[in-house]
Symmetry: C2
Amino acid sequence: MNVAIAADVKADQSATPSKNSQAQNGMDVLLDLVSDDLKAVNALIMKHMQSDVVLIPQLAGHLIAAGGKRLRPLLTLASSRLCGYKGDRHLGLAACIEFIHTATLLHDDVVDESDLRRGRDTANALFGNKPSVLVGDFLFSRAFQLMSRDSSLEVIRILSDASAVIAEGEVQQLMTSNDLETDRDAYLKVISGKTAVLFAASCQLGAVVADRPQNEADALEAYGQYLGIAFQLVDDILDYSAKQAALGKTVGDDFREGKMTLPIILAYEKATAGNNAEELAFWKRVIEELDQSDRDLDHAIALMHKHNALEDSMSLAREYVQKAIDALAIFPDSPEKNALVKAVEFSISREF
Amino acid sequence: MNVAIAADVKADQSATPSKNSQAQNGMDVLLDLVSDDLKAVNALIMKHMQSDVVLIPQLAGHLIAAGGKRLRPLLTLASSRLCGYKGDRHLGLAACIEFIHTATLLHDDVVDESDLRRGRDTANALFGNKPSVLVGDFLFSRAFQLMSRDSSLEVIRILSDASAVIAEGEVQQLMTSNDLETDRDAYLKVISGKTAVLFAASCQLGAVVADRPQNEADALEAYGQYLGIAFQLVDDILDYSAKQAALGKTVGDDFREGKMTLPIILAYEKATAGNNAEELAFWKRVIEELDQSDRDLDHAIALMHKHNALEDSMSLAREYVQKAIDALAIFPDSPEKNALVKAVEFSISREF
């Protein structure tokens, strides 16, 4: 879903001015650097998502073939190059990572009864809950099949660890939904798990396939982790973005689910600190009781602006961007390092 | 679910006569033989299903800790012993197999909107769709985490292959539901995938950890595959069993979903061969259109009896039981071999 949003944002950037053009360039540097590798990865993805059971490539293709920026595979490709890797194991691993990511998207889109009413165009909405779950399982299994043939126990350890942490992060997110006591530490733990850990693994694998020392693997893992956190922070901010709304994109999905993302956490903190009974009652009603009417989203956004919640969230994202860039300090300058720096800058230049 | 039914059937057997006592003995021989190993496996299962995210052990425990016969782990334990294995890798692998099985059960219980109305006491009904999916993902990831630490690429290949085939079998089953053109070959392909392949892998791993020659791994794989097919055939027969109904157990779940299991396939074949317009119209209405009223299940069972569909299904199950036993022929007589033979006899002695 993140990738899809990134793709949408990018598609619109041709019509918008300088800041976004910069962002587009940020991703383009990375894309240009590994474009041949990426073509090879896309071919592997198409090849390995096939099955005699025709519904599987049909449903998987709905998500995979339809595009997305392949952000995670791009990170693996660029990290491998950064580490001087000359072989082709990174191609298969990049495909595995996209399969794992797609499986989590399919499972993330499985909704409970109440959400079906929105009629969103998810694989789930088109095909039903169960095929989405099972095709996710297939892609996940396929990823480990490919790893068992082309790779090492170390790689399988990294990606199975990441997968377990993703599931934990997703479950933790469910548990914090509708719970106004969720604080920023709990939130950061959720997004570290559900999003950042796969970014971290994607980058770390570059050092692993290139057989580089542990400190380089650790540096790339840290880079990916911080990038992932920044990326998810921006995603969560964009869900309340007036710009997004003006562009005709969906806004307020998180709000309607009562998801405790940072903008709400910060706005609620301020309401608590100011002992503002009206605001406290508002958040309790719309988030805890999920009792919402049409104009509540606008009011929520207004409260966020009143308390600088979106700006403060963005500041935190910028801190993580800087941490990500700093993590690359051990690597000498190179086109690959430059591309990774530009990519992380892109992650927050998506305007709100 | 299969294991749960087996457990239920066994629990009732204390009150029923000779044939069932025999069956109970069949499983008891296996249980007695590996009881210490099984305790160790249960301890590993409890240990590795833990997580800081409390909903995970809570939901997983609903299925795992509540019991079940641990049929698949038992097969790994006995197969390892049959192959003379003296180490303890088989314990961790047996736990991995139970995690994979539990993940498939959790995902299998995720239902579309229409099924929620039945209010069954599945993890899904208690906790909602999404936690069931995510906890399944966690257990599945945990299985590969454990394998990446304690095991070999060969083991990971076998279990990731099995997992992919299970998902394919489950999707294929969805595609054949409500489709009266589904024939017995298509049905056997579905149950080979969704059920038998994990039985096969569970047994095959015994030869792999013991580092035995390929022909022994193949023999155990074949044994497990045939056993799994027989087991699922009996499960599907029991869903139309008058005995089950008399015992107060659920009957007709498959019927209500329009699932094309062998009893329906055979009854429909006979209706087609006899060009019986009334029966053809009945099956079309209840299976294809899923337009069912209260007495349709009884009528379906009556048609199955009229056409010997349950008896013929049972004959096929017996054929697979014999094939399973024959597959063990290359192994010399031993308590382990005897226990595996008794276990396969148990699989069809669950009366209907």
